[in-house]
Amino acid sequence: MLLRLLSVFIISLVCVFSLPVDANAIDTYEFKDEVTKTRFNALTKELRCPKCQNQNLADSNSPIAADLRREVYDLLKQGKADIEIVDFMVARYGEFVLYRPRVSSLTYILWFGPAFLLLGGVVVVVYVLRKKPKEKTTDILTDEQKSQLDNILKDK
């Protein structure tokens, strides 16, 4: 009985500790409305931390990410539009801070490359399918080959 109670206790303990954890860095920002809050969250997810390159601003704990989050917050408070905030970051940290790079002559291959490749693939497939099948040469076995084949099949 005691053992059972103990195991129930342990299992429930494990359950409690394995609840999903919100891993975002904790700041105590207060927003004037829900829209601003959503915009803040969206922006910090879209912008990349320059120091820890595979994290966005929202996830990173590095001091620079904290400073940039505060910067985003301040800019939102000043009533800046999303595009202005993104421009602000790009002006200082370069295109690098965008997880979704802008369409420019440098990123054409990135944006249109896959569609281009797909198109190429379709062209090749169509070409191959439409190619006239060659005249079927009927392969006829010689007598010798026939008896050989019979022998092989017999062995089985």
Partner: protein, 182 residues
Amino acid sequence: MGKLIRFLPLVLVVALGVVLYRGLSLNPMELPSAMIGKAFPEFSLYGVYDAKTLKTQKDLKSGIKLVNVWGTWCPSCRVEHDFLMQLSKSDRFTIYGLNYDDERGLAQNWLTTLGNPYEFSLFDEEGKLSVNLGVYAAPETFVIDHNNIIRKRFAGPLNPNVWQQEFEPLLAQIEQEQKAGN
């Protein structure tokens, strides 16, 4: 033609391999600064020592300036400190410090015990100027020319080698421009 086209996939794969192989030897941490060619941003910050008077861009001397971003939390800053002390003896440029995300007491202590290579050091606790400069880590060193234009950003600790290769040519170039009166 029909035969040759069979080699096309091989050629493509080899070409892709070459491109990707080259990518392996690139350092993704080396980011070009977006601030090159732009004017040094305006600021208004207290100094590490002087917590009473705000300093602005008007407090920077004319001529060539180095702005060195540092913090006591940054081990590489300790590494480059001795070299900065050496550089501070030069009269070709003025070195300013930008103390980033630090505590005033620690920063003062650092300068007192290790020596102060800076004309003055700005205390950028909230990273306001650092963000405007596009700083992402310390140490970073910016070269500002006589027209207050950012000419270079170097990320990482300074040493004689780096100085010789990356900074000397640029300094010489700026000095030339200065003489020519641009």
